[in-house]
């Protein structure tokens, strides 16, 4: 593929920094949004966690309580550009886990709510769409993890 003449060496550096920032803000926003709903209605979210039938019953409530706060803290760290190595890596681990569980439950045809952004069983049943949506969040997450950063490491 031929490069456009004149653009030559002057690759626009700030766009990469912009992309990195956009990825952080996007994922951070998603995580905070996802976390808030679950924090405000933790008993409903516990129901969602139970329905997934992944965890032993004894761990259901604890997970329902702590998981949204992990999302919240990660969201804040991503947006603030704080502790990025840990925040980005944990975000990736979290999203990979969610995607794996969704695919698992989707493939065994469990008739349950995704509970990804809403605790209302009526609004968000697991479907190909919710699976794809979760998997698609991995794109910016991977990008943040593997992108070469041209700007300084902490956000400004």
């Amino acid at each position: 593929m031929k490069r456009t003449e004149g653009m030559g060496n002057k690759r626009v550096r700030p766009s990469k920094a912009g992309l990195f920032l956009a990825g952080r803000l996007f994922l951070g926003g998603i995580l905070i949004y996802a976390g808030i709903g679950k924090i405000t209605a933790s008993s409903l979210f516990a129901e969602v966690v139970y329905n997934y039938q992944i965890l032993p019953n004894a761990l259901v409530n604890l997970t329902a309580l702590v998981l949204p706060w992990i999302e919240m803290v990660l969201g804040i760290l991503l947006i603030g550009g704080i502790w990025l190595p840990g925040a980005v890596l944990l975000t990736n681990i979290l999203l990979l886990t969610f995607s794996g569980i969704l695919v698992f439950n989707f493939s065994r045809g469990l008739n349950i709510s995704c509970g990804c952004f809403s605790n209302e069983p009526s609004t968000d049943p697991i479907s190909l769409w919710t699976v794809m949506r979760d998997v698609s969040f991995l794109i910016p997450a991977f990008y943040l993890l593997f992108a070469k950063r041209t700007e300084t490491s902490s956000g400004e």
């Binding site: 702590v66 992990i70 803290v73 890596l89 008739n111 069983p121 009526s122 992108a147």
Partner: protein, 172 residues
């Protein structure tokens, strides 16, 4: 900045940051939950019996035997809480379809002719399927006092060889 260019190369930092994030989340979760008016118990009772009990302590579930008797006597309306697609593949004979996913839109249409004291049996499919349970609670909240849940209904109904409507026999 002395840090390597890629975040992935800073795994040493991630190694301590991740546990700290989790600890902070646990502390926040437990303290905020503690301040709630009704804190979520840290270990919940998720036994089938507890889940099928209403706030007032009433059992919601109905045995397949009782359900079959109601069916034979035409004494109850069966309500399929699954999606229209699942319903059309097969359902308990004569059951109405009120997909929990669309209950807001369909409630009035489906329930129009049913007086509040109609005995209703909701069901979906799978031991852990919560649609029927959610629908039952909802119907009770809407004033239907005789609602029961047939847990894992579609499966146990077929296993008991009770009458079903199979594909392409969807009533209007």
């Amino acid at each position: 900045m002395m840090e390597p260019l890629r975040l992935i190369h800073n795994w040493r930092q991630a190694l301590w940051q991740i546990p700290v994030v989790i600890i902070v989340a646990v502390i926040l979760a437990l303290s905020i939950n503690g301040f709630r008016q009704t804190p979520l118990p840290l270990v919940g009772d998720w036994s089938a019996a507890a889940r099928m009990t209403t706030v007032s302590g009433e059992y919601l579930d109905i045995s397949i035997g009782d359900a079959a008797r109601l069916f034979r006597e035409k004494a109850a309306v069966f309500m399929d809480a699954r999606s229209a697609a699942d319903y059309s593949k097969g359902h308990i004979q004569g059951a109405l379809n009120l997909p929990w996913q669309e209950v807001d839109q369909l409630f009035l249409t489906v329930m129009a002719e049913l007086p509040p004291d109609t005995p209703i049996v909701t069901y979906c499919d799978g031991e852990t399927c919560s649609l029927s349970h959610d629908l039952a609670i909802f119907l009770r909240d809407m004033g239907y006092v005789n609602v029961k849940v047939l847990v894992n209904g579609w499966t146990v109904w077929k296993e008991a060889d009770l009458p079903v409507d199979e594909k392409n026999m969807v009533p209007g």
